[in-house]
Symmetry: C2
Subunit: 331 residues, 2 copies
DNA sequence: TTGTACGCGTTATCAC
DNA sequence: GTGATAACGCGTACAA
């Protein structure tokens, strides 16, 4: 093993094994047209010198980093971690590296991120971030960066998208409940939480308007603690209802506040978590939730992007169904 | 906005603004010695042409990618997501990009990861992965890659480490409980879950041996569902105990199994979660847990690495205290 | 202040 | 099969 020498270059390998750069390069890339004998010789000196090709130089020469950018609002959500997990798995088998670009849910950061993605020379990018809009995506596209966009209504060249069918499902669930269930339905509105939630909320509201039913909306913070505290207040006056919450932890806040206010779940208070994770079945009573396999979404996104990069055919639009999982937080 | 042209290079900018490559380069890097007038001219053509410097070429020329590698076992754990969150925040303010390297808890993958980190030309790496051992780290070090290693007993040049004091805390908690509490203590053993858990388990066992007390160990799977099922069985015969579980979801499995077996928590069954996250206070009864601010750990790791990269002084070893948070799953 | 020329570590297109 | 040599896009002494 080498001890703190400078990086060994292809040139040194060439000299040490008495061949030219070109030959070494051929050996590295398993390029044909090289005698088994010289190949072996080169490989030996490569091992002896501890040579590792520089992906940087390779990338510059070939115009291909094997690097794809992942644009997300934050790494801190469970459902994003799930997606990330699918991405890393698939990227590994396909031989890509993942570079993270986080917008922190700020438009300002999003603009910076667009710049960074461009300068970073990624081969392509997967965008799962509501902060980026049509113009940002167009900009990325204009720099010829193949894109897979999750949960966003955009189109362009070298651009595929992945959609969730949450809206439909929410319409169904809402309509069904209005027919059978008895309680007034409430939506937990999060101030700045992206298009998906906005669309779901709209679907919820429209369903009620169409049915001529009354509904309620509560504005909440994206924090378990705060939402729990808020609902302790709310449950002083509102003693029943069917609540739609964006994430498991917010749904749990409602449930816990209800229980701590002497209400029964689901008899008095029913709760539906819109983006269910494994915690839905850990929390008691277990959360009824909509569920999408985000690990699958992640790996699919990488697969699609990879096809783009290899000029294979890609379905331009893939849709993921959410399933309604009935557990114990609803009747 | 450009439409699908090829990448604009510094050369085209130079020609278009009637200066030399060097001058453009100076403008990009805010290098002094360039007239305000020409600077403005160059900046205008940069904007007009939509030129973005190639980080690749810059990196090759300067021998600095502004890229740091993050080695983790998986992106799918909440506590790792928390750490990642701290890292992305700090990296953003410091101007670094994060590249993910995931070992999937496999030694085989770990070896591949070492290779990839080396060829990827990262400026440095943060290693939070028990799969990498002393020799892997040494290899990385021999390629002059500055390292911040979390939760691992290694040393070397350009290598700083971050430690957790979990062992100490577990010794304390265990000893305290044996004095005051009455139940037999059990440790949930996870087959292949890294050094941290091993050390904690050892601390747990040694405490008991020193005190001449009896203890138990249950082997479990790293899955809520399986562990829940297992404990339904266990609670048929074992009707009380104090259980130490690695993560919140496993602790929740024990709690839920206990409750579903007609046992009371914490009167019959007490549970301590070793790596507490926000879910510790969401689950009911709320989990007593040890807690470390992993977001802080993540940002600190990036800060330390960044100091290395700038040849500033770094404390070689930083320790994070875990705090014992008493909630409702213990007496 | 600005320009020239070389180097960074590879790949790729030629010849031989 | 193998070897020069020109790219790839940029930084930077050194010269002017």
């Amino acid at each position: 093993m080498k001890n703190m020498k400078d990086r060994v270059t292809i040139y040194e390998v060439a000299v040490a094994s008495g061949v030219s750069l070109a030959t070494v390069s051929r050996v590295i890339n398993n390029n044909s047209n090289v005698t088994a004998k010289t190949k072996k010789r080169v490989e030996e000196t490569i091992a002896r010198l501890g040579y590792k090709p520089s992906r940087l130089a390779q990338a510059l020469a070939t115009n291909k980093t094997t690097n794809i950018g992942i644009v997300i609002p934050s790494a801190n959500y469970v459902y994003i971690a799930n997606m990330l997990n699918g991405m890393t798995d698939e990227a590994k088998t396909l031989g890509y590296q993942l570079t993270l670009f986080v917008t922190n849910k700020s438009k300002e950061d999003a603009l910076q991120v667009v710049e960074k993605v461009i300068t970073s020379h990624v081969d392509g990018a997967i965008i799962f971030d509501d902060e980026l809009d049509q113009s940002d995506i167009a900009k990325l596209s204009s720099y010829k960066i193949p894109l897979v966009v999750v949960n966003n209504e955009v189109q362009g060249e070298k651009l595929a998208s992945i959609h969730f069918d949450y809206e439909e499902k929410v319409r169904e669930v809402t309509a069904d409940y209005m027919k059978k269930g008895g309680k007034k339905m409430y939506f937990l509105h999060l101030h700045h939480s992206g298009r998906l939630l906005e669309r779901i909320e709209r679907a919820f509201i429209e369903s009620h308007i169409q049915a001529g039913k009354n509904y309620g909306v509560f504005s909440v913070e994206d924090s378990y603690r705060q939402t729990y505290a808020d609902f302790l207040e709310i449950f002083k006056s509102t003693r029943s209802g069917y609540f739609l919450a964006y994430r498991d932890s917010l749904a749990a806040a409602v449930i816990n506040a209800a229980l701590d206010s002497g209400l029964r779940v689901p008899e008095d208070v029913e709760v539906l978590s819109l983006i269910g994770t494994k915690y839905a079945s850990i929390i008691r009573p277990q959360l009824t939730s909509l569920h999408i396999d985000l690990k699958d979404v992640g790996s699919t996104a990488v697969t699609m992007l990879s096809k783009f990069l290899n000029d294979e055919d890609v379905e331009q639009d893939k849709s993921f169904d959410s399933t309604f999982v009935k557990r114990d937080s609803t009747i």
